[in-house]
Symmetry: C2
Subunit: 656 residues, 2 copies
Amino acid sequence: MGNADLVYPSENEGISHRVEIPPPQPFIKTFQYSLKETFFPDDPLRQFKNQPASRKFILGLQYFLPFLEWAPRYTLQFFKADLIAGITIASLAIPQGISYAKLANLPPILGLYSSFVPPLVYAMMGSSRDLAVGTVAVASLLTASMLGNEVNAAENPSLYLHLAFTATFFAGVFEAALGLLRLGFIVDFLSHATIVGFMAGAATVVCLQQLKGILGLDHFTHGTDVVSVMRSVFSQTHEWRWESGVLGCGFLFFLLITRHFSKKRPRFFWISAMAPLTSVILGSLLVYLTHAEKHGVQVIGNLKKGLNPLSITDLVLVPPHLTTAIKTGIVTGVIALAEGIAVGRSFSMFKNYHIDGNKEMIAFGTMNIVGSFTSCYLTTGPFSRSAVNYNAGCKTAVSNIVMAIAVMFTLLFLTPLFHYTPLVVLSAIIISAMLGLIDYEAAMHLWKVDKFDFVVCMSAYVSVVFGSVEIGLVLAVAISLLRVLLFVARPRTFILGNLPNSNVYRNVEQYQKASSVPGVLILEIDAPIYFANSNYLRERITRWIDDEEDRIKSSGETTLQYVILDMTAVGNIDTSGISMMDEVKKIIERRGLQLVLVNPGGEVMKKLNKSDLIEKIGQQWIYLTVAEAVGACNFMLQTCKPNPAKDESTGTWNNV
Amino acid sequence: MGNADLVYPSENEGISHRVEIPPPQPFIKTFQYSLKETFFPDDPLRQFKNQPASRKFILGLQYFLPFLEWAPRYTLQFFKADLIAGITIASLAIPQGISYAKLANLPPILGLYSSFVPPLVYAMMGSSRDLAVGTVAVASLLTASMLGNEVNAAENPSLYLHLAFTATFFAGVFEAALGLLRLGFIVDFLSHATIVGFMAGAATVVCLQQLKGILGLDHFTHGTDVVSVMRSVFSQTHEWRWESGVLGCGFLFFLLITRHFSKKRPRFFWISAMAPLTSVILGSLLVYLTHAEKHGVQVIGNLKKGLNPLSITDLVLVPPHLTTAIKTGIVTGVIALAEGIAVGRSFSMFKNYHIDGNKEMIAFGTMNIVGSFTSCYLTTGPFSRSAVNYNAGCKTAVSNIVMAIAVMFTLLFLTPLFHYTPLVVLSAIIISAMLGLIDYEAAMHLWKVDKFDFVVCMSAYVSVVFGSVEIGLVLAVAISLLRVLLFVARPRTFILGNLPNSNVYRNVEQYQKASSVPGVLILEIDAPIYFANSNYLRERITRWIDDEEDRIKSSGETTLQYVILDMTAVGNIDTSGISMMDEVKKIIERRGLQLVLVNPGGEVMKKLNKSDLIEKIGQQWIYLTVAEAVGACNFMLQTCKPNPAKDESTGTWNNV
């Protein structure tokens, strides 16, 4: 034990405690614990504990069909609220559905189909009370761009349509699988910054695409990037239709004004909610009365009457298009999921109820699988529609059922009314919805708070706008992950100093008043010690010691004798890290210094112990607090002569 | 400020300090600092500081040509040591070079060429004194398997050869670029565990491949996995040659015995170092005398006399094979680099001198670029040869020059002697070298210390043996990265308790004696709060509170009033993390509890401040130490009534 009997008598801390090695656990137990923390952090089986079997069965049923939980307690008062909310969102869903279906290069009627079946499924299975189900612009655009690379929607509309159903099917399967396998945390890797940038980029791209409708152009690029869109627009200036342009700008102005008004006075939320339907009605009337469809204003044309036809036999489950369908499904599915989960979570925060992310994924997945069998394409919980639902005072998912019934009524009886609806109105509706997604305030906030997040956000934006939606997504996720890896690969290390008149030691950069202890260098390592950073940490610690010795040499203070490593923030260590610690110990000792460890955590102590490094370092050089370690060092400095092993020669040649 | 005047008078800590926000830094300065830490952690420009321009120039030259540093001080004594070491490694290099070239499906003479030019280049540029340059088995195998997928070496040997030069060229360019761009840390992502598993797997595969030579088979699979090799061996049992088998097993036995002996008595290292050359000489004599080449024992045949021919004009820099060459170059280059850097670093640790990883990469890169111009294929610093060099007492890189001269002599005069060398001896040499790479003790150590590293190691091994070398590499790196991501995605959270008779608070799992404080829940978060874990942490903190309230309910203690989050180990926070903290605050307050933060680091304080979260939480609820925070909470608990906002109802319906 050598110096063990020279243990410093702790003054300030009462009884001196040793750093303990946590009691050994059987491997299977720690493994189970890790599995549980990884896949069941929310402890979903909590309420099943200590319940009789029958109760467990009911709870299990309620887990997958949450409506069983609230339906028995449903009241007439709730229904009144849900009825109003449902009708409000239906008036938004009908024009938006038609618009977004056009955006996805799908028949407009699909937008209505998709607002009928999926909301019914969600009402049974979803656990959010505020989410309104429907199609979304970004996923529609992604569908168009990804499937469009494989099949031309104009040349082969039926194959394109079938591929869209297939992609929806796989999106549903993927979503449900994520939920069932409890892998919902994959969605967490789309950080807030990524989503802000990505959504703004996608919205910009979608708005630019609407120039086709606003200017009444027949031919347009299939590319989504700003360069090809602009080239497409300005290469055919002679084709621009002023009638179309005037109509579009007029309606856009109307929509933006109402939106602005409703934003200022939230009580009048219904004004902006009704505006799209009003525009559609006004636009259709205008065209019908002026016969503008004969003067260059394109209209929707015939919409088939009747409910969703079955499409289960249309799924394309054979090569060569299968891969594209699966890819499209996974990408659009995860994007849709991210939006839906975020929306559900936000509103549950407002109203203080709990949303289970994995359960929601199963609901979204089932809704899309059923949807793909009944001529629907990808649906999720769009933010705008859910916000209207919330503002309209919805109480439960019944508002989705009301909306579905309203859409059913439209499908059965009202489709002919959309014959004269000008496409330019749909473009105006899309632009007005998309402008709300460009959240420049959020981007400013990112810049203010966290520059790296801003970089992530801007790279997502720029690469969506100038590259493609997929590139933007991949790049933003990659940069976000790079940040996590960089945090581990280049952990911060700090010098700690003593705060005056206390036994607290803190980072000298943060606490200007903290002062260093003569003869002792105290370093804090701020990350787990892993293979990815063990080489860096070795070099960095060496450099801290070099710097400190240089400083001491120039100032003529006491020579350095002790290096204290505060391991409080080192959450874990792997075998590369263990080797690194061993090397650092050797490097420090070769310079005639003594390594002292402070407060290694349970995992770290366990591994230091198993690899016999505790014995090498010496149990007596591991302290519970920095204050104790410094006390011991000072005690040694005062009672003992300087360490005789101290070797001042630093030439590179002396060991040859 | 509300409760601010009720600040707890700190008893134990002397003057009470506040958590400080680090002084604001201009963005450009923090950015520069981050860049420096990321790319120049070893501060290579340190010695250039405050030097006159002429000295800077010399230092710069010495940086790229380290021999300028030691050459002036070179003595005759050093030379004697280097001469012995050089001749020893040459006797190992010649048979190994020929063997590994056969393994790469290249003409055997390339093995000799590759032991001539690259060592000379390394002697000028390398900073290791112990590294012996040469080809390695794993990279040779990888070259054979990756190029073999594109071009059949037997059918089109000249194209195959040219592609090997091209791959070597790109490996060199890639290595030098990593060094010049200071991206050497990419090599760190090959963790120790990955390398142990990967090397053992590759060694197994290489050994199995040698069954071809040992059994004297003419036809053999191109696959490297155990299944196709075994099928290939046992489908042609009638082709097995007993003469070849007996010879092979005999020599293998001889090589293993000498290796075992030298391992036991390190003084006799030269016995195992000389054994391969002895085997070659004995084998050749035996074949020459018995004319065994006519009885099914395959021999090397003619080797061209003369030094390396130029191959710069043979590089294939046009499609369609360019991509394969680049891919092969990068993969083999990074593997070779990892081995070379690790070897250089290990020996520099023994002898206590410094190795600059990035500088070494430039040396390796240049050596391979020059090599690719002069008919060499990929070289690095193999462990076995460097260990022999070290044991033989080498002093400087001059031992590499001696080896190169010995090889040159062989090339000029001795190649005809290898005509009768039986291939089976080469196989025995390879097997005996490879068995040393299967480090089962290291694997056992991994199992003992770190189960996750063991999993990484075994997946690398299994996927190399049953899949392919590339798959194994990618998988092992992916699993290692997954671990880093999991660490961040699922950080540990602990309950802290008070150690008896002290004001130290530690994890109750590690310290069995630590006791909880009534009415206060103290949690420690053990990782940065990032997008990848913010949802998890919110759920996990909620669950800790649930568990604590359940426990209190059943035990009838004081109700929970305060939740203290110890942020000491939270190194950083991003905007998603900030939102999470905001949500956690709301959740905690909605339950009628008070959130208290302890010791947020500099980065965290900066961002909490910029996002105005400090004000929302209240400056008075942020303490420097857990002890102070607990003291303040106890003070409040004793002086104030329980928080009136406390709301015990937990039904899910009450807010509808």
